[in-house]
């Protein structure tokens, strides 16, 4: 597709967008004018409004807060609304394709329903008894800083998309992926929570599959330190609980704890 007469003079960019559905598809090129500060999602919307009104793209806030417009831009998982065109411009067309770790619905839209099923399986928050007679709790800011980092997650699922265990090895049945390890970490490190999810992590959730390549951390638009702050501490807790011989011996004599050691109240 070539530039139309009325847009001559403006700087043009070519978007190479994947068009198709679950049965297959192909890349198509669209040329569209560029304005200062434009993000990839703006360019896609421009194409949608003027050249391809049935182009499917999922989006909501256009401000990096809802995590809907996840895609792969020049091969890199990213939010289209937070990627400036200027930062991905080369002399080649900008390639935009749907996330590869999930089934395609249409064009840039993928079926992410698996993530919602996974979350449902994880034991929900279970608070301890309130600290004060009026039914409220007391928590210090330092004790919630880490949990607040995890709760920044906007569920864009880019970390799931980039994770090779899901993307290349398709272990969706055995591994919950970085997003839900962060979710479990937020629950496990919540100062008020009393539930124990370590056995689930070890057996059902497949935490052992993660070999800490940190790709998830690199693509996280919220800059959550997924691997170092969430996954590795969870791995350590699983190891302490199930594989540490001294702890095993200890537990023969001391009753199983109800709260985890790292939390303070």
């Amino acid at each position: 597709m070539t530039a139309t007469a009325e847009t001559q003079g403006a700087q043009m960019v070519t978007l190479r967008i994947w068009r198709g559905d679950a049965n297959g598809g192909k890349f198509e090129d669209y040329s569209t004018p560029v304005t200062h500060g434009m993000v990839v999602l703006d360019a896609v919307h421009q194409v949608q409004a003027t050249q391809a009104t049935d182009l499917a793209v999922r989006w909501n806030c256009k401000a990096g807060k809802c995590g809907s417009c996840s895609a792969e831009i020049n091969g890199r998982p990213a939010l289209m609304c937070m990627t400036q065109l200027a930062h991905v411009l080369t002399d080649q067309p900008i390639v935009i394709e749907p996330m590869q770790a999930f089934p395609t619905i249409k064009d840039l839209v993928t079926d992410v329903s698996w993530n919602y099923e996974v979350k449902k399986r994880i034991k929900p928050f279970q608070p301890r008894k309130p600290d004060a007679p009026d039914g409220t709790w007391r928590m210090d800011q330092v004790d919630v800083d880490r949990v607040q980092e995890f709760r920044k997650c906007i569920e864009c699922f880019l970390c799931q998309d980039v994770c090779h265990v899901l993307r290349d090895h398709h272990k969706h049945e055995e591994f919950i992926g970085p997003r839900f390890l962060v979710y479990v970490a937020a629950l496990e490190m919540h100062p008020l929570d009393t539930a124990d999810r370590l056995e689930d992590l070890k057996d059902r959730d497949g935490i052992g599959y993660c070999n800490i390549t940190k790709c998830c951390t690199k693509v996280c638009p919220e800059h959550i330190t997924i691997t170092d702050n969430a996954i590795i501490p969870l791995k350590e807790r699983v190891v302490d609980e199930y594989y540490d011989p001294i702890m095993r011996l200890w537990r023969l004599f001391v009753p199983k704890r109800t709260a985890l050691p790292m939390v303070s109240s």
Partner: protein
Amino acid sequence: MADYPTHEHDVLVIGAGGAGLRASIEASAAGVSVGLVCKSLLGKAHTVMAEGGIAAALANVDERDNWMVHFSDTMRGGQYVNNWRMAQLHAQEAPARVRELEAWGAVFDRTPDGKILQRNFGGHRYPRLAHVGDRTGLELIRTLQDHGIHKGINVFMEYTVVRLLKDGDRIAGALAYSRERGRFAVFKAKAVILATGGIGKAYKITSNSWEYTGDGHTLAYDAGAELQDMEFIQFHPTGMIWPLSVQGILVTEGVRGEGGILLNNKGEQFMYNDIPDNYKNQTAKDPEEGWRYCQGDRNAQRPAELLTRDHVARCIMREVKAGRGSPHGGVYLDIAWIKKKIANAPEHIKKKLPSMYHQFKELGNIDITTEPMEVGPTTHYVMGGVKVDADTQMSRVPGLFACGECAVGINGANRLGGNSLSDLLVFGKRAGEHALKYAKEHAAPSLNADAVEAAAKWALEPFDRQGGDEGPYVIQHALQDMMQDLVGIVRKEDEMQRALEGLAKLKERAKKAKVVGNREYNPGWHTALDLHNLLTVSEAITRCSLLRKESRGGHFREDYQNKEAAWAKVNLVTRKGPDGEMQVEQVPIPEMPAELKQIIEEMK
């Protein structure tokens, strides 16, 4: 009824933002079946964009706060045309709704003694907003979502409701289509709760997402319910204005709550030049006192930057019109200046306003810890909505409820920041509770197959249109441009008359809008259907704005610049007449009980 799949529930909730989720949780608590239909994926609704906090008189930071102060602040902010009963319930119940979130796993920022921290916000006398940095909305929606998924609610993601269905006078359900497959589904229900949010997409410059097309307003209107206060639109004073592609994206009031100041191109802190009479007693005399207030000095009054949003937006417009604006037609919002006052200012700013820091860094190439932002007004919120009973949230259509932004009442002519999140919790719960009660007291309705067929046929029309080659986006953009220009922040008679004529023409164009492709995930088709909703709410806004010949809150008339005592006594109610035309009527505001009047008097 053709072969559409039919889903039957006791209570059907439309919309899965904070209000819809809270209503669903409440309705499901008593074991009835609840269906939740949402246009997007769960957890992506507009609530996620709320930044500053949830207003509730917890009195954790200042023990002088209580529901009566919150009530009188809300009424003053709304210029006294609020539904006083809703404002009262809201102020009384908000603290319990916030504490409940903590019991469900929310992690708010903390005070030094370990309680929920509260911050300053415009129009609130004391620090009142429970918050998590500047991403409170995300915390709220995620908490409700993660709690709600274990309650047995049937969630239908990426379904859009086309029309409400009735059984005689009472509600009977809705016809919807799934985005993914483009197929229709019938939802049969004893009670229906609308929680669809606002109308921002009727305007060009808005902080709202594509979803905000006035769906609930229009569904209710078409089903025979009434709308009220549609002339009151909140233009948030601080949206991003540059680069153009990010125009309208919200810059939280929290920036000003943390000490951010507004400056014109002469470097003047212009908000101190115009302080309304009814706020004189509550506003700092000078910037120094304002700063002390932000630092927690209990003897200081709040800075002029934290006057109500309607006023701040107009002051910004005035600076720009007088040639004192920033290069891209706004003013400067500066938080970096606090480095003169506190050590480690950059770290403090990043900690308190992390989303703002990233938003400007990544979209505007600006570091807010060292340089000022350029900001200007953006369409943010509609105070008007479906008229409901204050206690039950039921509209005049039996079994049809509404809550959150799509309902009307607590905000009057202007909403205070932070009151929307508490509104959706308080009235989401109430709507859920009363819809549940209604469902238990009533038998299942029956559906009218002809009405279902007619709605489905209407929805498919855009595919069948011959001739005309106009797509839906062109019409949507034309509408947004027109509403922005003619029924925006500053309104006048002749411009709004032109808007009415323009709306009539756009309605004709919308009837001919054509879409291409098939029914599966086809945004062009969805936009064509949304046009009906956008045009309906735009007409209501325009007609009400024409009628209200005064200026109050979010409604400013260049030709009637003063507030008039007579207009303080009425609300404007919009309904569909028997001839299908829109009617607007002045309805007197019920007399406030003596005890509430006394509270307002005492808090003056």
